[in-house]
Symmetry: C2
Subunit: 226 residues, 2 copies
């Protein structure tokens, strides 16, 4: 809203040019639209209107619909990494050395709890998640990138922790991999399948208390591993 319209790199981080602001608004609107309707069904006109810009602005900033989609995926991967960073690095460091089963379980709870917060939160993260999960099923143009940057590292980490929780010392067994996958997938009950899950729980929304109880349920499952 202020300052120069230049393209010069912003070392500041606070001052953003008018163009940067528009770019940001478009990105947000696009993430929301793609998350809600998918790549094909989301229209550039809707996105432009929601972002308060006109149609050619999308081409100007992102080259076109597909470029915008990929930019969304990239942004989402980076934001996800930022939000998951703390518990993930802690767990990864712990995995370097010998790790007892109880300690592994503790890290698992931290990592999956943080993930649950992302998956179920109705803030920005809910939108990112919907986007990512849609891409996971559709195998769209951003699949490889999201797989490499998000899913594969997450699954690997979870698998390693599950293996330790099961008392496996070295390379994780197939059983550990499967347990990690169903564990992670189970979290999506309240993101992908949220309408169904809420209705069957008799809930109209997810408040903090309910979220805590869901996390507790996940913790129980983690305690049952091994």
């Amino acid at each position: 809203m202020t300052a120069s319209p230049s393209t010069a790199p912003q070392t500041d981080g606070v001052t953003i040019s008018r163009g940067e602001a528009a770019r940001h608004r478009i990105l947000s609107a696009a993430m929301e639209a793609f998350a809600e309707r998918g790549f094909k069904a989301a229209t550039t006109r809707q996105i432009a209107e929601a972002a308060g810009v006109n149609l050619p602005a999308l081409k100007y900033y992102f080259g076109g619909k597909q470029g915008l989609y990929l930019a969304c995926a990239d942004e989402i991967a980076r934001r996800y990494e930022a939000r998951m960073n703390a518990p993930v690095t802690a767990a990864a460091e712990a995995l370097e050395g010998p790790l007892s089963a109880p300690e592994a379980r503790r890290h698992l709870k931290a990592v999956l709890g943080a993930l649950a917060e992302q998956l179920m939160g109705d803030g920005d993260a809910g939108v990112w998640t919907a986007f990512a999960l849609r891409e996971m099923a559709d195998q769209g143009p951003a699949f490889d990138m999201l797989y490499a940057q998000l899913w594969a590292p997450g699954i690997e980490l979870t698998t390693a922790l599950v293996a330790r929780a099961m008392g496996e010392p070295a390379a994780p067994s197939e059983a550990a991999r499967l347990r990690a996958l169903t564990l992670i997938t189970g979290l999506t009950a309240f993101s992908v399948a949220r309408p169904v899950a809420l209705r069957s729980m008799g809930w109209s929304e997810l408040d903090a208390g309910r979220l805590a109880r869901i996390r507790q349920a996940i913790a129980d499952q983690i305690d049952a591993i091994g």
Copy 2:
């Protein structure tokens, strides 16, 4: 391919009129297209071509794209019910009387095992599942119908069985409901998230042996309940 072009009710079940055959082909093609691309992205032309009919035939038989979509949903619900019928009725009957925790676990394994077979099989059922799960996330025009006919009964049954497995006597607790939801959702690792799951397991496809091992992993989780 044979017989009369009449609309008279077919009591036979084997003889189908030319129209019935076309209707069937359209339905199959539509389920596949909708499952793969979603309602909006699937085009009537693609469906017509895949079914070997021309465009107006869709309107003739189903009124239009939305009518076709709803017909698909209805067909899917009925086929699902047929395939799940045996273990579901057995479990439902068992729930009428007192049910020990081990017995409840046995029924749970039967019901969820059958469901897993549906969710992960690459036959027709895989297509139905993709359709249903897409509708679950999108809340499209068939949501209410699928919820009432498929998901709600399935969740209720699973919840009741989980509650018994946890030693709860009467009305299922919230914890039991949550466990049932994550249990069912965990199954979708190899349906919705199949591309990701396969890649992270290092598998290129799901053969019988792998499916059995997945079912075993689920059985382990069921044994860990309570």
